[in-house]
């Protein structure tokens, strides 16, 4: 209650909008807490506590994880399981609130507010904008889970089916056709649920809040600014420092662990395509891949947002469309087109049951998958949200939610239908002889599931190569945009800090990933990153409130 009263006072103190936007009147000047040390030839411009503390914490954490990995690893793993199985209801409720808030804003008059003020014009075309938001936010997951997740729900006997649905294949035998179709639809609906409205709503809330408070309210582009309506001027002190440090922490560890795991995936793929034994086991090879990915990310950040990040994202999108188009065209095209509408229908008709937080018995699915995903998306949201915010100036809120929530959901559904649908069709046709069955059910080798599906289509070598390149480029585009975000947060919201700083973060990220890969502990750290999902979920619920208050005081 005291919290609410304070909110009232703070927001009442805000000035009424006059002119194009309602600037928040604060004495804080962007960069006022920054220090400019010189290290050798490099001049820096960094936010004092945030850069120093997050840098030290990251180094300490890596050392501790490496030194005590046998103790820390299981502990963090247990913590993750504890959080997702105890607070699954909370994650599900929070996810639903994010979707409802987004849809509510979309249909309300608040949708007319323009990011950057009434006269702002967009910096990027729809295509460039789209390419960047997909490449930063989801691309790599789509590559990894596109085949794996639908195939997993359809055929694995470990009891993780959505809403405790039936299996399509039991003990190596297809069940009767009607039940197979039901299992297929249920698998696709469950997958699209995890890649549809909910994750994008999480990103959209963070991105929209950041964009609003930076471009319309004139606060620095850093995560703490969202909470100005709640904490007021105290946001420039330690409450804000902690929020920013947490954001840096989640971003760096999220990226580093994904980079490490992705390098292992890519090397497994290379071993598969070229028939090299043992490459997937070889840490050296994975480290070489990390070096290559980091070098590409370095070139990208040195070329800047337009010349590097955007261009690479566009290349990425073209490759993804080629792969998607190929799978759809050489596969059972008309069947997939038909299935797409069926899958979307199944998703929409089951979304209420799937997102219901209580009274369900599908613990494996709800806790092991849904709650884990929600925690994972939430822990990535400061990074993806901040990047989306930066490139979204000039769009109206309605346009923004349509393009960050609705269209990506449809694209995710198309992708899952093509990749997962083709894999399930292969399993229905060849049952235990299909490669996907081999990698997902018989021997669980998730990183090869995509390559298994491609191997049964024509030109498997070419498409597998495209897939490997895509995995790597998706990592580059996550790594470069993530480095820009960390650099901005640790520079107190300045996007024109010296270039040497972003170089530092790109290299640091690669080093952390390589160190963890060599020393073990990648999964432990991933568990740690996911564990930040719970505190952040609470933080994001507060952000919903701040966002709506902020939008209401803007001219429409």
């Amino acid at each position: 209650m005291t919290e609410d009263n304070r909110n009232e006072e703070e927001t009442d103190a805000l000035p009424e909008p006059e002119g194009a936007t309602e600037i928040i009147d604060t004495d804080y000047e962007v960069g006022q807490d920054n220090i400019s040390p010189r290290i050798g030839p490099f001049g820096l411009d960094i936010h004092n506590p945030v850069f120093v503390v997050s840098g030290l914490v990251v180094v300490a954490f890596v050392i501790i994880t490496l030194a005590f990995q046998n103790a820390v690893g299981p502990m963090l793993g247990d913590l993750r399981v504890f959080l997702t199985s105890t607070f699954d209801w909370f994650f599900l409720i929070a996810g639903n609130i994010f979707v409802l808030v987004c849809l509510g804003i979309l249909v309300s008059p608040l949708g007319k507010v323009r990011i950057g003020g009434a006269d702002a014009t967009p910096d990027y075309s729809y295509l460039g904008w789209f390419a960047m938001l997909f490449a930063a936010g989801m691309g790599i997951g789509l590559m990894f889970f596109g085949v794996l997740e639908p195939a997993y729900y359809f055929a694995t006997p470990w009891g993780d089916q959505p809403l405790s649905g039936q299996l399509g294949i039991v003990e190596g035998e297809l069940v009767d056709p009607a039940a197979v179709e039901a299992a297929r639809l249920s698998a696709m609906a469950g997958t699209i649920y995890h890649w549809g409205l909910h994750p994008w709503a999480i990103y959209a809330i963070v991105a929209l809040s950041l964009a609003l408070f930076a471009y319309n309210k004139g606060l620095p582009l850093t995560v703490r600014s969202i909470f100005y309506p709640i904490f007021g001027e105290r946001i420039w002190g330690w409450p804000g420092h902690i929020i920013d440090i947490l954001a840096v922490f989640a971003t760096l560890f999220g990226l580093a662990t994904s980079l490490g795991l992705g390098a292992q995936q890519a090397s497994a793929g290379i071993g598969f395509v070229f028939g090299i034994e043992g490459v997937d086991e070889s840490v050296t090879f994975a480290v070489i891949l990390i070096v290559v990915i980091t070098a590409m990310a370095l070139i990208s950040v040195l070329r800047g947002l337009d010349g590097g990040v955007k261009r690479l994202s566009e290349i990425n999108m073209v490759l993804a469309v080629v792969l998607l188009g190929f799978v759809i065209l050489v596969g059972p095209t008309m069947l997939l087109v038909g299935q797409f509408f069926g899958n979307l229908g199944a998703y929409l008709s089951e979304i209420v049951a799937l997102s219901n937080p209580v009274g369900r018995d599908d613990d494996g699915f709800r806790q092991g998958w849904t709650a884990f995903y929600w925690a994972w998306w939430i822990s990535w949201s400061p990074f993806v949200g901040m990047f989306i915010a930066r490139v979204s100036r000039g769009r109206t809120v309605r346009e923004f939610i349509t393009c960050v929530l609705l269209i990506p959901t449809v694209i995710s559904a198309i992708w899952m239908t093509a990749m997962g649908g083709t894999a399930i069709n292969q399993m229905i046709e060849h049952v235990t002889d299909s490669a996907v069955y081999g990698y997902v059910v018989e021997a669980y080798v998730p990183e090869l599931s995509l390559f298994g599906m491609l191997s049964e289509l024509p030109m498997a070598t070419v498409t597998s190569l495209i897939a490997i390149v895509l995995v790597m480029v998706f990592f580059v585009t996550s790594s470069d945009s993530g480095s820009l975000v960390i650099d901005t947060i640790t520079a107190g919201g300045k996007i024109n800090a010296p270039v040497s700083q972003r170089v530092f973060w790109v290299i640091f990220e690669g080093l952390v990933a390589a160190a963890l890969l060599i020393g073990g502990g990648l999964l432990a750290l991933q568990a740690a990153a996911v564990s930040t999902g719970l505190p952040f979920a609470i933080v994001l619920l507060l952000a919903c409130y701040a966002l709506i208050r902020g939008l209401m005081s803007e001219p429409r």
Binding site: A20, T21, I23, E29, V30, G31, Q32, S36, R38, P41, F42, G43, L44, D45, G116, G117, D119, D123, A214, Y215, G218, L219, P220, L221, L302, R303, G304, L305, D306, G307, R390, V391, R393, G493, K494, I495, N496, A497, P498, V499, S500, R502
Partner: protein
């Protein structure tokens, strides 16, 4: 000899480029030229301005103040960049070409500020601009 002198300025460090501003004003007085101030800002809020519109106003005020102090004709261009840490030189060169100036006067390295600031930019502009560039050190 010169009609319009382009003067790129960093409003955040305006107090540290007075030498370049004085040189530009002297030259303008000597040749009867006008001064054209060019400023580049990020689209995100900065220490100078909350948004590009406010930045443009501040640049205009800065130009007017310079014109009054030195008694020369002034104008100004405010440009934005999505990634000024990397693109600022490119944006400046385009603005210099667009404004039709025949001379650039700009400050070079200001001691005590991080490396990326106008120091190296002066060199870059001198190397790539199509008109004469006077780098004030």
């Amino acid at each position: 000899m010169y009609r319009k002198i382009a003067v790129p300025v960093d409003l955040f460090h305006a107090d540290q480029i007075t030498r370049a501003l004085d040189v530009a004003a002297d030259l303008a007085g000597h040749y009867g030229a006008s001064l054209h101030f060019i400023g580049v800002t990020a689209e995100t809020p900065t220490a100078v301005a909350h948004n590009p519109a406010e930045f443009a106003q501040k640049l205009e005020a800065f130009a007017a103040e310079q014109g009054k102090r030195h008694g020369v004709a002034v104008s100004g261009t405010a440009r934005t960049s999505t990634d000024p840490a990397v693109d600022v030189d490119k944006v400046l060169l385009r603005a210099i070409a667009d404004c039709g100036a025949d001379l650039v006067v700009m400050a070079s390295h200001v001691p005590g500020i991080s490396d990326y600031l106008w120091g190296s930019h002066g060199g870059h502009i001198a190397a790539h601009a199509e008109i004469s560039v006077f780098v004030v050190r």
